[in-house]
Subunit: 334 residues, 2 copies
Amino acid sequence: MDDERRVLLAHGGGGRLSRELIEREIVSRFGQEALQGLPDAAALTLNTPSIRFTTDSFVVQPLFFPGGCIGDLAVHGTLNDLAVSGARPLYLSLSMILEEGLPWSTLRRVLDAIRAAVRASGTLVVTGDTKVVRRGQCDGIYLSMAGIGAGLEAFSLSPASIRPGDVILVSGTLGDHGMAVLSARESLFLDSGLVSDTASVFPLVEAMLPWASGVRFMRDPTRGGLAATLHEASVGCGFVLDETELPFAPAAVVIADLLGISLLHAPCEGRMVAVVAPEVAEAILAVWLGLPEGCGACRIGRAEGMAGRVTLRTMIGGVTLLDMPHGELLPRIC
Amino acid sequence: MDDERRVLLAHGGGGRLSRELIEREIVSRFGQEALQGLPDAAALTLNTPSIRFTTDSFVVQPLFFPGGCIGDLAVHGTLNDLAVSGARPLYLSLSMILEEGLPWSTLRRVLDAIRAAVRASGTLVVTGDTKVVRRGQCDGIYLSMAGIGAGLEAFSLSPASIRPGDVILVSGTLGDHGMAVLSARESLFLDSGLVSDTASVFPLVEAMLPWASGVRFMRDPTRGGLAATLHEASVGCGFVLDETELPFAPAAVVIADLLGISLLHAPCEGRMVAVVAPEVAEAILAVWLGLPEGCGACRIGRAEGMAGRVTLRTMIGGVTLLDMPHGELLPRIC
């Protein structure tokens, strides 16, 4: 029966069908104290005055791709914004815009993925909202999440604190998420085995805590990829990347070449880029390599040169400037 | 020039055009300390451990309607969820999904309305996100906001604490928002003078503080209107409404009659329903009547009868049961 069921406009109307959707599909999955009274606002008690607050919307297409779906992607994206700001993620909100006619089974798969990702992270979904729009006014499901985290005072992050000689670390191969989504969307190389890197990077942040004073900058390279992330971090000092050190999945290279996309501009959704003092780089790399989230970690370059300049030393010994991506190469990738 | 400018997919891509949109249109309006570094997460310091956290998405159609637009509606809706939970709104996040081709002037008008509503409320927009989807995958603009507020400990709100004899107060006419939006959407009675009630209800909450211990329940009657709000509050005791006391704007009555909609099920976006102890009802009513947000305030009934039952004493002396709305009479009203 539920296999044929679809989302109706009435599921967003505030009446009985809305309540049924909330109780059967939302509270049943995320029901804990804060959500059970179905309040419009969750009452929370924080044990720190220093918090981080973030939000993101997710419009990825297709909704399901190798390695994940819009649901876990939304959770990870929100957790990661908190994590790279130097915070422990605590609470999430979940706001859904659904298209009339969406199969109920699709909604359930997405909600199941959200639940699994939230549980794995040790956080809670404490408040939410659901709207339904007519067919053709949305593309299946759009999600917006907001997150609250507790600031980790050990970190004192600022791109302005980056000094020449600081080391750039990444936690794994670059651009897998972008290429996995494009491969699913364009039905290209579906048997390549490439999967999205969608994951929480908080374990990588937590692992750096013993060396936190040597960490200048950390970021998950999402839209705009590594290139945009390093440009953003180059306010005080430039960067030099060694092309031979850059980690790429072979299948991602094939897909990127075919589509004419640079993997340096392609988004990750579960990787970390950190710029750290040279004296802590080895220790952080070692602890990252011991984690599932960091098993592909490596050094890729160093801080050097003029602010605003990101340079690539190519395999054949040349030097090229790495541009800030101008526009939208990859719409609806997250 | 800007009059002809439109939103491009590239404005959501994470590259230079994204940054330009954020800097020129977002930071210029909401730029204060927390947002100026363009962090993915805002760092905030709270002076209370007890917070409230809420989220809502907004898909109202048309984007502009008499008395407001999707921008101020989103701010007020988010503030009001915090306010009626017994909290002082502090911080907001703003997540936008834009349709490719949206006129730049429309985006600016919406952002200006957001800024005006945020400033009037004394809160701050501290973090945000923008996505752009292709034409036909969204209807102009969808907004999601989340909000953080500081719990006001004087309130101890619970529908279970409602006792027979408690008084139901409303702060003004019912259903104006729903009828103003429908009138704009259907081009009906555009000269009626009816405007949406979109507003922050926090001044009404703050005004109740001296009598907070006598306040059992407060809610802004949005989707599902007064009927849904009272059904939600009827977990411990029923309610009896006096039809002769219900406040309606004459133009709203005309539009509702024409469309076959009950104003008791129509949404407000700036009204307050409060159930209060009889000994504080007069004092609260008096202070509400002195505020612009409460100048149409009145008593409309009392707690009485079986839990789950909301009864209407009609003008001609009859008694009818007021149903919980079943489905979606009014799609995309907020």
